[in-house]
Each structure stands twice: as structure tokens, then as C-alpha cells.
Symmetry: C2
Subunit: 385 residues, 2 copies
């Protein structure tokens, strides 16, 4: 499947796995069957010991690296996944999926509900991070992977990594939790709630049945994404990139005047045409609900007790969505729980979005951790490693 070019995994194509054993969900409902769409990069070794699972964030998907035929932009984490990159596909077999409830090919609100013959829409059950990890474990079974060399994810993806370490302590050797938090703050929930209200109050939302009304709640999704983007960028990066630059002359009206307005409108518009609103709502709820310490009266160290893997926690200095303090909370709790954890707060001006970008220290830390991980697992090194 992989056509290795220098630094790129090259052309890739998605696969679909179907699961027919019912999946019991945290909300109390059951999914009788479901499909997950995924991509893989690199080769699974004979011992099946070199697999890495990539967990995606709010608007991510299975296309993490490489290109589809004719595609101009590579997958969303191509800066980090590829031959010779920090997640080195010469050594590792990388699996990236679209989460259950997503809108990129896995079973979700845009899929057909077999019980009714119409699309699930808002009837699709709300997902939690726990549910996702259960479904990902099924995918691992399907691929014959008993134990991942590492599970890696940023933001909401980092929460899945953490859940993996607790739910299946013997099924991963290393956990990389990037730009994440052990739970949302009131402010985090507040931003999610604004996004949800924007979508749900859009008259084109029709209580989630927009598809049956042959429409889309574009206005709501646009606003949700605009709010999101403000929280993804640092004030610093936004200032440096746009400042108070005026795009058109000040017109004393409501057309675009400042560059930042143009940027936000473009981001909102483009997102509203490609992302499913019910999926967006469901993803924000999964974020809100995640709180592994909740089951231990808020004692995070106690909640982390089951974990056996080695951890790398990475945060970014100007991230204010999930600030470095939130990662430090996690690191402290891991230390208190006696776990093996390394931590790096990477100096970057790019806010939360930094987790998607190249950065020398980020590369060094992530690449170094995974190189060592490979050595401890006795995976052969690539020649120049």
C-alpha cells in the first residue's frame, strides 16, 4: 500500500473494517454493528510488535499521512509520520482511524441506521472516549495487534491515549499524550457549549434532521468553527499573523475590514461545507465528558493506578486551550502514581495548533522517545537511525 518517497509515505488508500459483535456504550445504548475506516503506513512485523495507533482530535480522521491520488495536501499529521520522521514508518507500522461517530467513513450520524433504514442523524448515540477506545481495541484485534508499541494522540486524541493506558494497560507499551488535559475546565466546556448552541439554534439544523430536509446548518457550523479557531491559535500567533492589518479600507460597515475577519470567515465557510454537524456536536460532548478522575472522587493519581506503559507528555508554551498547566497536572499525578513519565513543554508561538506543526524540539522529543521505545521492544533500527 505504501509507496515510500523521501520523507513521505507516498500514495495511500483507506480500508474498512466491519464489526458485528454488539458494542455496549457508556450512554447505556448498544451498537449492534459498526464499521471503522482506517489507513496504515509501514509494515507490520512478523512478531506484530511494531504497531502504533494514532488517535485523532475533534475534526480529525483516518487520513493522517501520505496522499490520495491527485491530492495536493498530505494527511493531517504528515509532518510527523513517514520514513525518517519522528513516527518513523521504516520501523513502525502506523494505524490511523476515523473514530466511531465521525463523518469520514466510520459509522456515525451520516450512516444508515439498519433498524430504520434512514440515516442515524441525531439518533446516533453520543460517544465517549471510553467507547472509542473499546472500538479501537476491536480494530486492533481485527489487525492481529495484541499490544501496541505506542498509542499517540494530540488534544482529544491525547485523552484517548490516556484512556487506553487505563482500560487496556497490557495492550500498549508507550503512551504519548500531546496538548491534552485530564479533563475540561469550565471555560473549555463554555466554548464547546457556544459551538453547540450555534449549531443547534441554526434553523437549518431541524433538530439534527437537516439531511432529511435536504439542507445543512452551515451558519451554525461556521460560527462553531470560528470560535474553535480562536482557541486553537495563541493571541501571540494571531497578533503576529494578522495584527490589526486592514484587508480592505475601513468601510464603516460590516464587510471584511480586518485580515483576521477574512481568515475566520474563510475557515468557518470551508469547514461548514465539509464537516457533519451531528458529528461535531458529538465530538464536543466526548470532550466535555472525559474525566477519568471522576470515578475516584477527583483523585487523578488514584485513577491512573492501572497504567503500566511508559508515558511521554508534551505541551506547548502558548497553548491556552489546554495550557501547559493542564499537562503538568497529568504529569504530577503520574509521578504521584509511581508511573514512568517524561515531559516536555515545547516553546512555540502557535498555541494549541502547535501539536500539528513541525518544531525541532517537538521532533526531537517525540522522535527520541519513539526511538528508545523501539529499542526496548527490540525493533530493528533503520540504517541511519
Amino acid at each position: 500500500m505504501v509507496n515510500t518517497q523521501s520523507g513521505s509515505v507516498g500514495l495511500v488508500e483507506p480500508s474498512i473494517a466491519r464489526f458485528d459483535t454488539p458494542l455496549e456504550l457508556a450512554c447505556g445504548r448498544t451498537l449492534d454493528a459498526f464499521e471503522l475506516v482506517y489507513e496504515t503506513y509501514g509494515e507490520l512485523n512478523a512478531q506484530r510488535s511494531n504497531a502504533i495507533l494514532i488517535c485523532h482530535a475533534l475534526s480529525g480522521h483516518h487520513h493522517a499521512a501520505g496522499f490520495y491520488p491527485g491530492e495536493q495536501k498530505p494527511g493531517w499529521w504528515d509532518t510527523h509520520i513517514g520514513p525518517g520522521k519522528s513516527i518513523d514508518t521504516r520501523r513502525y507500522f502506523v494505524v490511523a482511524l476515523n473514530n466511531l461517530g465521525g463523518c469520514h467513513g466510520s459509522t456515525g450520524p451520516t450512516s444508515i441506521n439498519p433498524a430504520t433504514g434512514r440515516i442515524w442523524g441525531p439518533d446516533f448515540p453520543l460517544m465517549t472516549v471510553t467507547d472509542w477506545v473499546e472500538s479501537q481495541a476491536r480494530l486492533a484485534d481485527h489487525l492481529g495487534i495484541q499490544r501496541f508499541a505506542a498509542v499517540i494522540g494530540g488534544s482529544l486524541g491525547g485523552m484517548q491515549v490516556l484512556q487506553w493506558s487505563l482500560a487496556y494497560p497490557d495492550r500498549l507499551a508507550h503512551a504519548v499524550v500531546i496538548a491534552a488535559t485530564p479533563k475540561l475546565s469550565a471555560q473549555n466546556i463554555a466554548f464547546n457549549e457556544v459551538a453547540r448552541q450555534a449549531i443547534r439554534s441554526d434553523p437549518e439544523f431541524h433538530d439534527g434532521w437537516y439531511a432529511e430536509h435536504d439542507t445543512l446548518p452551515r451558519r451554525g457550523l461556521r460560527l462553531a468553527r470560528m470560535v474553535g479557531h480562536i482557541t486553537y491559535l495563541s493571541e501571540l500567533a494571531m497578533g503576529a499573523k494578522f495584527g490589526r492589518d486592514v484587508r480592505n479600507e475601513l468601510n464603516f460597515g460590516y464587510g471584511v475590514e480586518f485580515e483576521i475577519e477574512s481568515y475566520l470567515r474563510y475557515q468557518g465557510e470551508s469547514f461548514s461545507n465539509r464537516f457533519d454537524a451531528n458529528t461535531y456536536l458529538l465530538m464536543t460532548k466526548a470532550l466535555d465528558y472525559f474525566d477519568p478522575a471522576g470515578a475516584c472522587d477527583g483523585d487523578l493519581a488514584a485513577a491512573l493506578a492501572p497504567a503500566q506503559c511508559r508515558f511521554l507528555v508534551v505541551s506547548f508554551s502558548t497553548d491556552w486551550r489546554f495550557a501547559p498547566e493542564r499537562s503538568k497536572e497529568l504529569v504530577d499525578a503520574l509521578m504521584l502514581a509511581g508511573k514512568r513519565v517524561s515531559y516536555a513543554n515545547v516553546d512555540s508561538p502557535h498555541g494549541h495548533d502547535a501539536f500539528l506543526m513541525p518544531h525541532p524540539r517537538y521532533d526531537t522529543v517525540l522522535g527520541g522517545f519513539l526511538r528508545h521505545a523501539g529499542d526496548t521492544l527490540s525493533l530493528p533500527r533503520a540504517e541511519d537511525e
Copy 2:
């Protein structure tokens, strides 16, 4: 008019001043006539030297202190205005108005446009801070006040204070700029743009002619206010007040689950029923446009050269809408320009909203500054002062 009770200015009532000399606006248009609604507290002395002007913020108005008959809650700055309070009405004559373009009684989008006989709606010209100061100078003339003892305001009100010091340097002795900034950042503009898009994309907005359609863009205003509230509160205060407290049991649906959701929905709902959408839009634009240094190639100290008054600048430690750094920028530029300036960064957990709240150090600094101001203006002290 004022019925002094202990610490309260007591019962108050608004007045209206009408102005028939055309007002040329920054946008190039002219208002032939306009009205301003205002309240006063305390007594203007014979020398007319003890007047203080209060400039309001985005959603403020003229009812800054005291009570209307039957009213349960006093005016919006009652904590600071009254006999024996930091803005002491025993010594000072306090004037508070609703800005031009407002929706509380001054001429604005909800007023009748005499040229058409119908309400102004979206045809009402966009206001700038400069325009407001011009109209406030007319109000000062109307009241026979040549020179204010002080002009005081928080947030957008602080910008008006700054503009007063530049446009009419000989018409104020003291300027108090609270929780403000000499210009918005890209992030500040971004939040305003989300609020504007929320209102303008509401199908009930009808390009601003909602009144003629006998409707209101409530959904949009609700969202705008929710976003606003997130920026008014500190993450700390929001966390302390709401945390992850669950209001109802987690229901795996989109009803209220967390307390913070309930709070935001309530704030949005109540605002959407009492505030005019066209006014809200116009106020956010006035914020975006303010940039006195713009005329001096970004050199704020050069822009501040005309000022003659003495300044007090106040910021609040957890304010992230207009962070202490923004006040320090202003203080530094005032110093560089050789102006007399005092500065206090008040330690408060309440974010931007702190400027509306009581706080011992805030009271001391503001009260102390105004007591000294009164002494330098030879205003008689109240007995216990």
C-alpha cells in the same frame, strides 16, 4: 433629584438633552440632530468645577447609580458611585449618559430617522469613540460644564476617557482609564467578529430590519452574549464558580448538563430580550476601530502628546480580555510622553468583570486618586473624608 441614603444616591430619574447642531461623524456622515439620555448624582457647585463624567462600556447605559422607583437592583456602577463611595457624590457632581447609537434612550438604531419617518435600524451610522466624545462634549456644554474634574470609564469606557484627554485636553483635569487598552488585538477583533457573524447570520436579523419584520435576532444576540461572557470572566473565576459541576445528571443529550451551560444560556437569553442587535453590532465596531496611535504610525507616545490631565490607569490581574499588559503599554507610552500617570494592577480573580465589582484595593486606589483630585481642584471635603 437625589435622595441620599447611607451609601446610595437613592431614587434617581433620567433626563434628556436635545442637540440640533449637526454632528459630523468619523464615517463621513452627519447626524442633523440627536438626543442623549443621562442621569446626574450629587450637586454641581457654583464654580461648575466638580463634575465627573462616567463613560460606559459595550452594554452599559446612563443608569449608573441609585434606583428607579420600584427597582430592586441599583445602577450598574452603584458599588463605586454614591455618598462616601470612591466616586463620592457628596463632593462630586456625577454625569452618566447613554452613548449615541445606544438602545436605552439616546438616539440610535431604535430611534425614528426624521428623514424617512421610520426607525433608523441598520441605516444608523457607525459610531466611533471619537464621535462619542464629540457628543459628550455637547452634553457638557448643555450642562454648563467647561471642564470636568475627571472623566472615568472601564473597558470601552476607558477608551472614551483616553480620547477625551486627546481631543479636549483642556476640558478634563483627571482621566481614569480602567480595564482598557489603547487598541484591540487580533484576538479581541476575532471575538467581536464571531459575535457579529452570530447576529448577522440569524435569519431573523433581516439585514438589520428585524423591527419592520416584527421579530428579533434573539438566537444571534444570545450567542454573541455567551461568547462575550466567556471573555469577561477569568478561567479561574469560571472554574471556582462552576467547575465541572453537573446541574442535572449526565443525560447523554444536549440539554443542560453542566452548571456553566446553564449560566451561559441564562445570560444569553436574558440579554437577547433586552438589548438591540444593531446597537450591539455598532458598539463592537467602535471597539475594533479605536486606535489613537494609528494616526501616528503606531507611535502611541506621540499620539498621547496633546494630553494635559493627570492619569490613573487600573488593570486587573486575571483580566484576559484586556490583560494588564495592555494597560502597561498605555502606562509606558504615557511615561514616555512625559505625562503624569499612576498605575495599579489590582489582584482580583474576577477577570474583566472585576472593573464592575467592589474590591478594597480598587476602592482605595480610585477613591484616593479622586480625593487628591478634589483637593487639587480646591473642592471642599465631606466631613469624614
